[in-house]
């Protein structure tokens, strides 16, 4: 059995290290959590990096607690916590969106999309500082206008798939783009492509029409 080499469809080691340490901000860790829910081998890689934290616990010089802790009271407190169960999966068939996304948005059939033009629809999931996580629904065969990135973009595919001119991305895949190069994803022809896209800087489109659309897309 060979281990996954994390080609483009999986997050790189530095991203997983940051996820494991807890350093990834809101939005980014949602995209990674969605990928991990769908990719057992990256879950194992993430656990490898979490074990750095485990080793740190083992090696840490203990810091005595100031207040003596009453274990019985702590257990009582634990037993009193109301368990928040995630949204029940919709009846009839397995859900498309995995947790933790489904608790935030409902399943794919629940989404109320807003058209942004050119066969692309969107739903903003969360905004945190400059980071925006949005769902995109791209009609079959449609190209998202060519755009360059100033910051980081993570795209986790939930259904359907797309080509970016070099690689194909399908359900469970994630694309992490950190460079400036423009790219132009094209949805595969057989089905719409639904993906979770997280960006941290306004995306710059090339060409006039997409630029005019940009304020509406809030991209």
């Amino acid at each position: 059995m060979t281990s996954v080499r994390h080609p483009d469809q999986h997050p790189g080691d530095e991203v997983l290290l940051a996820y494991a340490s807890g350093a990834l901000g809101a939005g980014w860790d949602l995209a990674i959590a969605v990928h991990l829910a769908l990719c057992p081998s990256c879950r194992a890689r993430a656990t490898d990096y979490e074990s750095l934290g485990g080793a740190a616990l083992d090696d840490a010089a203990p810091e005595a607690l100031h207040e003596p802790v009453d274990i019985a009271a702590l257990i009582e407190r634990a037993d009193a916590v109301e368990e928040k169960r995630p949204a029940a999966p919709p009846s009839g068939g397995a859900p498309v969106f995995p947790e933790p996304l489904r608790s935030l948005t409902g399943d794919q059939t629940d989404i109320r999309w807003s058209p942004v033009g050119g066969g692309v629809r969107q739903k903003i999931v969360l905004q945190d500082g400059g980071v925006v996580a949005r769902l995109l629904h791209i009609a079959p065969g449609v190209a998202v206008p060519e755009h360059g990135h100033r910051g980081l973009e993570m795209t986790a595919v939930l259904s359907g798939g797309y080509y970016d001119g070099r690689d194909a991305f399908q359900r469970g895949d994630i694309q992490v783009v950190a460079h400036e190069g423009p790219h132009k994803p094209v949805a595969m022809k057989d089905a719409p492509c639904v993906c979770l896209v997280v960006t941290d800087a306004p995306v710059r489109f090339r060409g006039l029409l997409p630029r005019l659309l940009q304020p509406f897309m809030k991209i």
Binding site: M1, T2, S3, D13, E14, L17, A18, A20, S21, G22, A23, D29, L30, A33, V34, L36, A37, L38, C39, P40, R43, A44, T47, D48, E50, S51, L52, G53, G54, A55, A56, L57, D58, A60, A61, P62, E63, A64, L65, H66, E67, V69, I71, A72, L74, I75, R77, A78, D79, K84, P86, P89, A94, P98, E99, P100, L101, R102, L104, G172
Partner: protein
Amino acid sequence: MEGDAGELWEARLSAVAIQRDRTAFAELFSHFAPRIKAVMIRGGMAADMAEEIAQEAFVAVWRRASTFDPERASASTWIFAIARNKRIDRLRREARPQPDPEDPAFAPDEPDAADTMMTARERADRVRKAMATLPPDQRDVVMRSYFSEHSHSQIAEDLNAPLGTVKSRMRLAMERLRAALESEHEEGSL
């Protein structure tokens, strides 16, 4: 965690999960809570908040002990991950999004993985050993990036080193860690 001690903590977590063993829970608490506090302080957290995080983590340890799977993670790794999430919840004032193994859309682990892979404890030992063999300057940037909120550029400033140097140390360290784990995977699967 070195072999035997790790096994001991796993057994105590199982006792908490299955028998709701309060003595085992108290032992876990007195071992790990002060260490969680120490690691949180190292990450820049105030001592009283670090202490609260340690307690909140143990509320979750009691509630979620049955989800501990020794095939997936060692006891200290599992407890670290809980404490890390409590820290994030506190900083964001909302729950950190996490995959849910009970979710019907969750892709389960491959069934043969457990036979061909090292145990979680062995893997954790490999990571620890690989870290120990990194050149000190590389280990330093990994640890700074792991345990502080600092970005690469902040780390470069702290070290008074060019950003490119920090980035290349980080990249080299990640390559070495990955290589160490992959060679051990192959060994483990023979």
